[in-house]
Point group: C2
Chain length 491, copies 2
């Protein structure tokens, strides 16, 4: 069993004067952040927070949020980040399942907490009034300890609490470093939600690598571009929408930026290529909550040749492509299975879901992909998003990539529409320029797609609904489509 000194405290000792965190509220070195966290851990400890206990929090992406995450970690307690976009009705089952000892809320929180949770909700301000606890400077971290329950935005049913150990965060940070390198001057621009795994892991990469974070409560393209210059940003995580917005700015990417990790959803190669033309070193990645974020990354210098792949698994993560219970041949599609020390140990208090997803140490992702002879993974689809039309499997992202190549199309989503004749028909929601004529679309697509893949129903929408990670909410689209007027329908 591996254990470690507290990572933040280690950085305070080794890189004490280096910048750890920059937010609109201020700047902190590792030594300063460590001292703040020591005090906060002392206060939490006075509130009875102990090792293995769950602490939920619903906070914006600010310095308090970062301090709290490290303070909970230092105490060996379990993080339960709450999605700030969820309604009280949606949070109820999550709190029921997580059963936290304490819930921390923002200072000016007016959230209508579910009845049963209310008694345990404390604001960060009221917490700070209890400032007389002894600071806790360092504690032993046990890699096998449960460290976070991150609830997945499942499209159906009650969200599942993904059980991530402390070791998962360590191995995720190490896997990234071995793949992408580690520069002493690395600075992360962090504009992702901190309550999703992709945003959370960046906090731990910072304290494991000794890199700085420039944290903003939300994404704003112009501000992002200005911060890249002001803070000499080298790294960032992006979802496709963020890349679209950055490409609308007049300035190209700054030379300091060495990697923009594209996650959240399979991305269209055209988008990645467009980003590279403007100097944005966008690389496709693959990962999910259950793998503690990114586990597969394409090398920056291979993007031109391998844009449609996600690259190789980060060491020591391994991947299998399983079709009909057997390993698929190179290049042939199947379900993506993952094994490695970043993989979750299961779903919290949900043995059925755990048993369904984890088998012999392997996580069955439910995603579809293939691996070529050289070990490059191509993720073709979320298994549950596959459209099955008359027995033919259709990948929405493949069709979306082709639609996005058409001039005048700004964004799109492809999804299944119930059909008496085919089981499912292929539907597409389009964000298009004024004057765009959808009648020409099927003809243009027919040069690149088999006829059965070409959408037969088109809807015009103002925006494609996505979750905070940038994943298209196809179930939501399917629901909306029932009430939308069809723009074009092929006979």
């Amino acid at each position: 069993m591996v254990s470690s000194s507290d990572w933040l405290h280690h950085q305070a000792q080794v890189n004490g004067d280096h910048t750890a965190l920059v937010t609109p509220e201020g700047r902190w070195t590792f030594r300063e952040l460590d001292a703040d966290v020591a005090r906060l851990a002392g206060i939490l400890s006075r509130f009875g927070v102990k090792r293995h206990e769950r602490v939920a929090y619903r906070l914006p992406g600010n310095a308090d949020h970062v301090r709290l995450v490290h303070a909970i970690t230092r105490l060996g307690a379990v993080l339960v980040p709450l999605n700030t976009r969820l309604s009280p009705r949606e949070l109820g089952p999550i709190l029921e399942n997580a059963d936290p000892a304490l819930i921390l809320a923002d200072t000016d929180d007016r959230f209508a907490w579910p009845e049963r949770a209310h008694a345990r909700v404390l604001s960060m301000t009221s917490l700070r009034q209890f400032s007389t606890g002894d600071p806790i400077a360092d504690r032993l971290l046990n890699f096998d300890d449960l460290h976070a329950l991150v609830y997945t935005s499942g499209t159906t049913g009650i969200p599942k609490g993904v059980e991530l150990t402390l070791g998962a965060q360590w191995w995720s940070a190490v896997g990234f470093a071995l793949n992408a390198g580690l520069l002493p001057q690395d600075v992360w621009l962090h504009m992702m939600p901190l309550f999703h795994v992709g945003g959370l892991t960046i906090l731990f990469r910072s304290v494991i690598h000794g890199s700085a974070i420039v944290l903003e409560p939300r994404f704003d393209a112009a501000r992002a571009r200005r911060l890249m210059d002001e803070e000499a940003v080298t790294l960032m995580s992006v979802v496709p929408t963020m890349v679209h917005r950055l490409l609308e700015l007049p300035d190209p990417a700054p030379p300091t930026l060495r990697l923009a990790l594209l996650g959240g959803a399979p991305a269209a190669p055209v988008l990645i290529q467009a980003a590279h033309r403007r100097g944005y070193p966008v690389v496709p990645t693959y990962g999910m909550t259950e793998t503690c974020s990114q586990i597969v990354t394409l090398n920056r210098d291979e993007v031109a040749l391998r844009t449609s792949t996600s690259g190789h698994p980060n060491l020591p993560t391994r991947i299998r492509i399983v079709h009909d219970g057997r390993d698929a041949e190179p290049g042939c599609p199947g379900e993506i299975w993952v094994q490695g020390p970043t993989v979750a140990r299961g779903y919290w208090r949900n043995p059925e879901a755990t048993q369904a997803a984890f088998r012999d140490g392997w996580l069955r992702t439910g995603d579809v992909g293939s691996m070529d002879r050289d070990g490059y993974l191509t993720v073709t689809d979320r298994l549950k998003d596959l459209i099955i039309r008359g027995g033919e499997n259709i990948s929405p992202t493949e069709v979306e990539a082709e639609i996005l190549r058409v001039p005048g199309i700004q964004d799109c989503a492809v999804f299944g529409v119930e059909s008496a004749e085919w089981g499912q028909e292929v539907g597409s929601a389009l964000v298009a320029e004024d004057g765009f004529n959808p009648e020409n679309l099927p003809g243009l697509l027919s040069k690149r797609l088999a006829s059965y893949k070409i959408p037969s129903i088109y809807y015009r929408v103002g925006e494609i609904p996505r979750n905070a990670s940038g994943k298209i909410l196809r179930t939501e689209l399917q629901r909306q489509a029932r009430t939308l007027t069809k723009w074009v329908e092929l006979s």
Copy 2:
């Protein structure tokens, strides 16, 4: 239990065209090295080499050596590197203890192998004649597997086989990267013996990090300096003697060199400072065979202020300073204890030695040091090298550091000399310029050292005897001293 794809094979897939190895014999990319190793692993497999079996080898530092190390690793077998400086008489007990299934020797080997070993000795040339085996491209590596028996150059008794797992190599490489950073263009200049742990770990850092190695069979300062320019070297490991030789060259260090890790022996601060004045970014480190090489490193930018310390432990390694069975106060000396995933699991087939050195998961190093309030480790001495004069403990390295400051002194060693009156007297061997007058030395030292620490007996020698890691052979000096004429003896 963590497992992984073969590290070299991973690099062949991810960085296939990058340089992996440069020797006087040629250059190899990761793809080429991987293909060679696949063939060699296939041949070894035909010879019956299996997982957990020990394979000993006595080879110079060349490409064959590197290939063999990776081929044995790929098969899950156990490396037994043999020190090429040992006589047949000295190798006998090591082979007896390791009991290898096979012994590999250099092509033109004229070594008089011990009688019992002879039947199992094969030359690399004869091995290559069996070239019809199927190549072995990839195998699962299990981090918990025993991976190497590295015999320590103990000064007394039979050498002990330090049991290093595969995971120890992984964690050693990761600990280095997290401390020193990881640049895509990293190139190691490797002029250390490959049969010692410090040389061996560099081979695995290369395949875990994707960095190149420029390997030379022996250290030559002028050639080292030329290769630094030709191959844009960024990293090297050095022992004090190598630094001395490099500083004798007319040229300063090249700007590409970002770290020279100084190990093998506690180094005099004056040497480190002199190196920095010539542009050599020498940083003190601390480690040993039992910790799979370096576990503590001083940051380059702290060398000026903290020269006499070795810095902080690499994550997640932890250190305690134990005095009289309790943790010593900050700044107070005690025995250095180490815990972490690079620590050896014991000594091969030597339960007594294992029990004496390992306690509750901690390695008792036998070295003496202190840790200050900010977590900086200062290694003062090898426990067994301590001089005890009339009940006073005297650190040889402390005295050596002061003697080295005296103009005209080129090298020195301090050691205990038997004394009826004091138990031990302090003796010193000096390498000095012609015309140096040793009579003045005690007076000069008295300004800086307590009188009981000042050597009372001086010997003039042409060279200080050191082992391949640069450690002063004090026992050897004590033996020599009995027959040397004293240069000066204080009354």
